[in-house]
Amino acid sequence: MSTINQPTAPSRLAVPELLVGIGLLACAGAVAWQTLAIPVSPLYSKVGPTVFPYLTMVGLVVLSLLLILAAFRGGWQPEEEKETPTDWKAMGFVVIGLVANLLLIRLLGFTAASVIMFVLVCYGFGSRHTLRDALTGLVLALAAYFGFARALGVNIGAGFIENQLNTAIDAIAGALGA
């Protein structure tokens, strides 16, 4: 017999929530450290650049202590959320995709890096049509590069693929113009 739905379940320490609270406290610590590093000119001693950071730090400390207290009282996550296991493998592939994008974008240019990220993320989410995903990713990345980036005037790093296409477009435009 399980007693999961018993309304007055004994409150236990919720470790994940505790870690979140401690993490926020660490953030408050970082804020304090960085606030101390702000040089203050005596001219602004009354309401200088550190007043708001200190207020924010105090707020963060109080809030993280309240969160830690809540964690000791059993946490705040609903049962449903706790019972769904995290799909670490899927997340892992998304993270690898993001990191690959970060490392390759300078080297290969936006389009190629995006295709690799696209394929890895799709794989993480359960798609097994890798070739089709690569093509979809290529079309989307090119659309993003030529439609979005160029229309918005955003200068996004061009790599091998973009350069080839840009020269091709210029050549065609030149041929048409001539």
Binding site: E17, V20, L24, V31, Q34, V40, Y44, K46, V47, P49, V51, F52, P53, T56, G59, L60, L63, L66, L67, W76, P78, T84, T86, D87, W88, A90, M91, V94, G97, L98, V99, L102, I105, R106, F110, A113, S114, M117, F118, V119, V121, C122, Y123, G124, F125, G126, S127, D133, T136, L140, A141, A144, F148, A149, L152, G153, V154, N155, I156, G157
Partner: protein, 507 residues
Amino acid sequence: MNTLEQLAHGFSVAFTPVDLLWCLLGTTLGTAIGVLPGLGPALTIALLLPITYQVAPEASFILFAGIYYGAMYGGSTTSILLNTPGESATIVTALEGNKMARSGRGGAALATSAIGSFVAGTIGTLGVAFLAPVVVKFALAFGPAEYFSLMVLAFITVSAVLGSSSVRGLASLFAGFVIGMIGVDLQTGQPRFTFGTTELLDGVDVIIAAVGLFAVGETLYMASRRYAGKDEIVPLKGSLYMTAAEWGRSWKAWLRGAAIGFPIGAMPAGGAEIPTFLSYAIEKKLSKHKEEFGTVGAIEGVAGPEAANNASAAGVLVPMLTLGLPTSATAAIMLSAFQSYGINPGPLLLTTQANLVWGLIASLFIANVILVILNLPLIGLWVRLLKIPAPQLYAGILVFATVGTYGISQSPIDLVILYLLGAAGFLMRRFDFPTAPVIIGMILGPLAETQFRRAMTISNGDWSVFYKHPLSLTLLTLAFIGLVGPHIWAFIEHRRRRGPEHVPGDA
């Protein structure tokens, strides 16, 4: 009638072919991102912020407003057919709307929500046109102390009063303050929170923050939750033409929804959750068909909250345009678009930027007309968008996230910050922290700090300015009640409920 004249002038701005095209583009894009789960107006407008360097302010705000309104229309389609609310504002729509779709009346549910959105959106936009000049008259009397107190009130309402937990909401808000303070302090030129790096001197771009929290964080969260139950699309059944009875049950709900939604949206509290839930409760109470609620789906339960949602979305524009006070993530990002043009929203905006403001308001009326056309006869198109499989959808979102962020400066550091914020966004989503207060905190925090320091400079460092001015004191008192009131209320309720039931077995 000055307002009517101004509005007529606004229509002359908005009715130029180019601006009509911007409006059409915005509403189409808005509906699409509203329909797609995982994408929202805040993220989309953030990604499109670089457009502010390219086109006139009128054009980009007409585009943004179209996206903002369109997302409300599109979100309800997803709620009704997929039962996954695209946004918090459409949670209530999903309650009855999805039930209606399951019992074969999806067509009527979509129709009442689209027409209700049109009616309420139009009423709400009229409200903006007539209320904004009134608020301006009032706001001209505001000094820095009053502004600061007003912002404190808005901070409390957007983070502590709305949402499931005031502690987590405030934690999000304070995290937003920290992000907002990164960079050079504009008054003294001192670098803050840069950890000694030069890359952080310019601060964290709102695009990176919004994309990190909303796109990267959401994608990581969805990947981690693949074991959670999946919602299936209910095929669209039932005529889009409502019967006389359905019209009869809908129109009052629309008007009531608009009457609830607009005032709450226009208050410096904002948020669509409270008005939609309130409207739902009222419709349920007044309905002659109570048995349909929660079973086959009651049309009033879709019509009322949908209207309330759109009217409150319009209402949010009032504090944004007249006070420079954004009360939703989308409004906060629109505010940063104003900043990018060097325009400061506030009481003077309506006179100094009359073309822009009235053109924008006029374009909202046009957007509503376009949207009702886009969302009823063309509904089949949007249903097809729902069928985009999750892997390609989320991978695509990440590609656009890269364009939006890496494109700003071509700096891999920006991508690192993006991913760090994405990881934070994932944890926040996982542990039920609201993300909108982060964006509001990072945009509004520095403005609040400026007003705070201005007030303190004028008063020569005397803190009493904040409680000696009656208006400022009132606002701060309201903020305090907003923070503490719900807890006291819950405590009293708890005691009262517990009292009689606690007797047996004890002692």
